[in-house]
Amino acid sequence: MIDTLKFYFRIYFQIEAQYIKSRMQYRDDFIISTIGMLFSSLTTVGVFWVIFDTVPELDGWSLNEIIFIYSFYLLATNPMQTLFDHFWQLRIHVLKGTFIKYYFRPLNMMFYYVSEMFDVKGIMQLFLGIALFVYSSNSLGLVWNLKQLIYLIILLLSASLVIISIMIVAASASFWIYNSFPVMDLAWRLREYAPYPMSIYKGFFQILFTYVIPIGFISFYPSQVFIRPEELTPIIFLSPAMGIIFSFIAYRVWTAGVNSYTGTGS
């Protein structure tokens, strides 16, 4: 078991190193994309700032609380951004038939597929996430002890699993409908609604975001543990379970897709 893990660990870094070398030839694009990604996160902060310039609170939440929720969101979605970026290319591999190569390696297919790409520019968002997290937790006067740090790690991990699972399911759609881009695009945009308090969404959207496409678990519900511990709802205890259940479903969908793929016939 340990040996297998070690083996996978070593292979992972070898494959990633090759990918990063091949990306180095587009250095200008790397710099521009990094700036672009940073801009897109900063505009979200800009949106909050403009909103709170006109109204003092949003459904009872203050600007710093919203920034905390947003920084949690940046940290939770970062693994999807950096480590699982290759899923965006899945539809191209499926359409062109190049996906067939993943069947011929003595490795777990999802592992091999995921390790072929690492999105370096996502690192900037990690830094921004950490900076906003420190800033907002300072201005909210939050105190961190060991117990809370453990909670933080568990909640971040399960939040990451939720968004990764959603994206894997969306990407796997390409095994059946070929062009999965619109599906992924939809899922990826839904994620953008995660940093807002779920309490503002009424009826349909609240149910959708809590149980069906659980983006509420990406940042809003877990953040409450730290910023409003006195108002916890039982729903928060679902968080780790959500992460595990959804990754199980995602892996099943992926496996079903892989098994049904027949190549392009050439």
Binding site: Y26, D29, S33, I35, V47, K121, D185, I200
Partner: protein, 251 residues
């Protein structure tokens, strides 16, 4: 017409847009709370402004910057250079084709939905007559900006980063994420000197406040026209400069 090959894409784009409207509805409802008017805009006006903005964004999504990027990278741009046609006009013409398909398949269904499901009401007035004209200028502005971004590919050899940066900057600074009147006064006066507000804020302002004097509307159209001319001249000069950078494998 090439876009029609992936019909399921339209369904998701419409769904995407409708979900955005639903979210914007609830978000701004909680921002308004019990207030009637914020910064001179009623909730109804704000919602109309934002949902039309996202529909216009989808309408003008022609991917022509990506197209130029691909043509520069695989060298097929050369087949355009030896034709007796203007490259910029042919790119704009194919973008116009995209806009017309988008209009029929995405924008019109969305507007129908907006009127019958969200039941938005809008005042009528002379502003609505100027709106289509302003939209034409908005199209000229977006397609010229797309063209400039595409051509930058002569230098960077990749378009991904530029294109997303462009989208982010335009949506934020043009008022399509937050209506322009909501920005603090000093920032707003800077934004009014930038070309981006001419793309979204000007046509949208005509819809939400359709009863201003005609001279107001003519000034707005004039501002758009000035920006079209400035950007167009810039893009020509930029192309002439950038094209010298072209290197094609084996050329």
């Amino acid at each position: 017409m090439a876009g029609l090959a992936y019909r399921s894409g339209y369904f998701f784009t419409i769904a995407n847009n409708l979900i955005y409207m639903g979210i914007a509805f609830y978000l701004w409802q909680s921002i308004y709370g019990s207030r009637e008017i914020i910064r001179g805009m009623t909730f109804n006006q704000t919602f109309l402004y934002l949902s039309l903005a996202s529909s216009i964004f989808v309408l003008f999504q022609t991917w022509s910057d990506w197209e130029i990027g691909f043509q520069i990278n695989d060298g097929s741009i050369i087949t355009w250079m030896i034709k007796p046609l203007n490259y910029q006009f042919s790119i704009m013409a194919s973008a116009l084709g995209f806009v017309l398909t988008n209009l029929l398949t995405i924008t019109i269904p969305t507007i129908i939905f907006l009127v019958f499901v969200f039941k938005v009401t809008f005042a009528t007035g002379p502003g609505l007559i100027f709106f289509p004209l302003a939209l034409v200028f908005s199209f000229l502005l977006t397609s010229t900006i797309d063209y400039i971004v595409g051509i930058t590919c002569f230098y960077t050899e990749s378009v991904w980063g530029l294109s997303i940066t462009k989208d982010v900057i335009i949506t934020f600074l043009s008022g399509s994420l937050i209506p322009l009147p909501f920005f603090p006064e000093n920032i707003r006066s800077i934004l009014e000197f930038l070309p981006f507000q001419a793309i979204y804020h000007i046509p949208l302002n005509m819809v939400i406040e359709p009863n201003q004097p005609t001279s107001e509307y003519l000034t707005m159209i004039g501002i758009q026209l000035v920006w079209v001319i400035i950007l167009f001249v810039l893009s020509r000069q930029y192309y002439n400069k950038a094209v010298k950078k072209l290197r094609i494998a084996g050329g």
